[in-house]
């Protein structure tokens, strides 16, 4: 269970407040207008930005002061999710051993996860030798071996075409959701939310609303979100 307790964020003139609970195992779409603070919220949960006030709790433990790597959190950014000079297998192996000296068992795990995301045999390639969709799969593979219970997706598939993006979302829901992990994903597209999200959290007007069931929020959006969504 993720709890944002009286959280207040500020960056220059920008301010955002959040006080809510996300149930463990939920898949939550984070929606709202550009510049509303969706990415900033994820940055605070991931530990890249310190809040002005309030706490971030996971399973009752305060993680507000922990550095990013020590949190029970994995994150995929919009871009730069892979180091271009490392092979795909090395990129994935980083989640197991940051020094990249893998044991035989760990190397096997990397091979297994490559098969699971459909990249069997491509472990020795560099990211540039892969298509955009394959790169997304490689980044997802690293989340799978990292075993962190909370996964943040900051529009990592935004550059993919609609069909490929839907495919990646399904793969995320199936692999990550299937393991009971909690998923927070930023999206602009209500279709993405309807596709895999159980709940929607609106980030709008300087506030983050508590997650509510997807169909309910999208069918009867609150006024601020309605203006953003327009007519579906």
């Amino acid at each position: 269970m993720l709890r944002l307790d009286g959280l207040r964020l500020a960056q220059g003139d920008f301010a955002l407040a959040a006080d809510l609970v996300v149930q463990g195992g939920a898949t939550v779409a984070v929606m709202g207008p550009s510049g509303g603070g969706k990415s900033t919220l994820l940055s605070v949960i991931a530990g890249f930005l310190a809040p002005v006030a309030g706490r971030v709790l996971w399973g009752g433990a305060d993680i507000t002061a922990l550095p990013p790597a020590a949190r029970p959190v994995s994150i995929l950014f919009q871009d730069n999710n892979l180091f271009p000079h490392l092979t795909i297998a090395q990129n994935i192996g980083l989640a197991l051993r940051p020094a990249l000296r893998l044991t035989a068992a760990e190397a096997d795990r990397v091979e297994d996860v490559l098969v699971r995301v459909g990249l069997a045999g491509l472990g020795t390639r560099r990211p540039a030798a892969l298509s955009g969709g394959q790169q997304s799969r490689a980044a997802l593979a690293r989340l799978l071996v990292a075993q962190k219970p909370l996964v943040l997706l900051d529009e990592p598939f935004a550059a993919l075409g609609p069909a490929l993006r839907a495919e990646m979302l399904d793969l995320c829901a199936q692999t990550l959701g299937g393991q009971g992990r909690t998923l927070l994903m930023v999206t602009h597209d209500p279709q993405d939310a309807r596709r895999i999200a159980s709940d929607v959290m609106a980030v709008e007007g300087g506030e983050v609303s508590a997650p509510a069931p997807t169909a309910q929020v999208l069918d009867h959006p609150p006024p601020g979100l309605r203006a953003y969504l327009g007519k579906e």
Binding site: T40, V44, P68, A69, N80, H85, A95, P98
Partner: protein, 514 residues
């Protein structure tokens, strides 16, 4: 996104950068203090005001001439396309790594007593010109800095959006008054000030083409005070004066807009609709031809005269060349290590420490090191290590200028992912920073090696016959009027400087799979 003050610590330990900054501080200001302390007081010779005046005069003239001549060349390069344009622009970067003494020999072959120009004048029955003195010093400085000025000003041209030229053309507006003059007003003072700063600390040019009471720079006066009078007090005071002059010039540079010297985009030619007339085309062709001739003819002479001289090189010159290569490699490694430590630490203090050597006197630096070390170590064994260390410190500002922006780019692009994966310190360096930094590391190392191998500075003070470097051996051959052998040594030095740069730069670019 700004980093939070709480959640993330610095990705790298700060102590290596701090240690590097302290070392640079000790080597620049500390050595000056050591010289002062040993001198027990400062002395100011009667002619020293003359020296300061000459230093400022020659630097000002060199800067003014370089930018004035650079403007038509840069304009021509900005608005003309022709085969070899890219190669010419690349060549404009070469004088930076060209050993000064080699260029001087090339200039002597053109403008010297037995040079081509005087041969032509003699054939016409005109009196010969002398290259020695103020005009010779300025000529050599223009040779080195005209290309730099062209590149800086060309960047100003390249920065004017192509749409502006299109708009001006469609409205029939004068491009020169509307677009070019404001750009030049913004760019030229900064370019001139950078060149002024570079020429302030000139040594090897003044040593070979200047000299005498009326053509001595501060750095050359320091050399004379140390070598002929062993007058530490005077040397220290002159070094302090040089620090002051450079600091003032550096402040002026800071206040002016200087385009990024390493910036890209020079290959682009904006579509232009002006300057299509015959006179303009002729003027541009003339500017480019004259500039290319001025820059390439001396180098061609070095090659032409050097080839037969290679066979005449005494074995001692080859040994000197081997010594020079070792010094250059050691010095490049050290310069890059220091620059990397400073770049990873970042911050104003690291930046300032990295710029400090620009104002330092390498001769005082070397002398201070000797004074500090000679109670413990036999001075004869010190000449080469001290030279390598001094060269490393002197090329540090350029290496840092290459590495610091590259490190910042890597952190901007991959820092968050590295943080998320818990890559810090040595692991982050090994897995992320160093592999991504290969190109800039090779380039910086190549610059430092070329600068070091061509340097005729501190070694001229302390070298015995067993510790001669190649530039010094060449200088001594010139002094003994063994011009054939000197030309051979010049060609060898030229090949080594360009070769080392090319090898290191190439090594950094290899395996560019990312």
């Amino acid at each position: 996104m700004a980093r939070g003050p709480v959640a993330i610590g610095a990705p790298f330990a700060r102590w290596p950068g701090t240690a590097a900054a302290v070392l640079v501080l000790a080597l620049t200001l500390g050595t000056l203090a050591a010289v002062l302390w040993r001198a027990g007081g400062v002395g100011w010779a009667a002619g020293d005001w003359q020296v300061v005046r000459f230093t400022i005069l020659q630097a000002a003239l060199s800067a003014a001439l370089s930018v004035t001549l650079a403007i038509p060349v840069a304009r021509a390069l900005a608005r003309r396309r022709f085969p070899g344009r890219g190669l010419l622009i690349t060549l404009l970067g070469a004088p930076f790594i060209l050993p000064v003494i080699v260029a001087v020999l090339g200039l002597l072959a053109i403008f010297g007593r037995g040079g081509l120009v005087n041969a032509g004048l003699g054939a016409l029955g005109l009196p010969p010109l002398s290259i020695y003195g103020l005009h010779g010093v300025v000529l050599a400085h223009v040779f080195f800095n005209l290309p730099l000025a062209v590149r800086l000003i060309l960047q100003g041209w390249a920065a004017i959006p192509a749409e502006r030229f299109r708009l001006a053309a469609s409205l029939g507006l004068p491009v020169g008054r509307l677009l070019e003059r404001p750009m030049l007003r913004a760019v030229v003072p900064g370019a001139a000030m950078v060149i002024f700063l570079i020429c302030l600390t000139s040594f090897a040019v003044a040593l070979t083409l200047g000299g005498g009471p009326r053509a001595t720079t501060v750095e050359l006066a320091i050399y004379q005070a140390l070598r002929f009078d062993f007058d530490l007090g005077r040397a220290a005071l002159l070094a302090a004066v040089q620090f002051g002059l450079c600091a003032l010039a550096a402040l002026a540079v800071w206040g002016l807009a200087v385009p990024d010297r390493m910036g890209a985009g020079l290959d682009r030619v904006a579509e232009r609709w002006d300057g299509a007339g015959r006179p303009e085309r002729l003027a541009d062709a003339l500017a480019i031809t004259l500039a290319a001739l001025f820059l390439l003819a001396p180098l061609a002479m070095v090659v032409a005269r050097g080839l037969p001289g290679l066979a005449e090189l005494p074995p001692s010159v080859w040994r000197a060349a081997a010594r020079s290569v070792v010094i250059a490699l050691a010095s490049a490694g050290l310069a890059v290590a220091l620059a990397l430590a400073l770049a990873l630490r970042g911050g104003v203090r690291a930046t300032l420490a990295g710029a400090l050597p620009l104002a330092a006197s390498s001769l005082v630096l070397g002398t201070g090191l000797f004074l500090l070390l000679h109670p413990w170590v036999n001075p004869a064994t010190l000449a080469l290590p001290v030279t390598a260390l001094v060269n490393a410190v002197m090329s540090l500002p350029f290496a840092l200028r290459v590495l610091a922006p590259a490190v910042a780019r890597i952190e901007a692009g991959h820092g968050r992912l590295a943080d998320a994966l818990g890559l810090t310190g040595w692991r982050r360096l090994r897995l992320v920073t160093l592999p991504r930094l290969r190109g800039p590391l090779g380039f910086a190392g190549g610059l430092a090696a070329a600068l070091s191998i061509g340097d005729l500075g501190v070694i001229a003070l302390f070298a015995g016959p067993q510790t001669e470097t190649l530039p010094l051996a060449m200088y001594r051959l010139m002094g003994a009027y063994r011009m054939e052998a000197a030309a051979g040594a010049a060609l060898l030095l030229l090949a080594l400087a360009l070769g080392l740069f090319w090898l290191m730069d190439r090594g950094g670019r290899g395996d560019a799979a990312a």
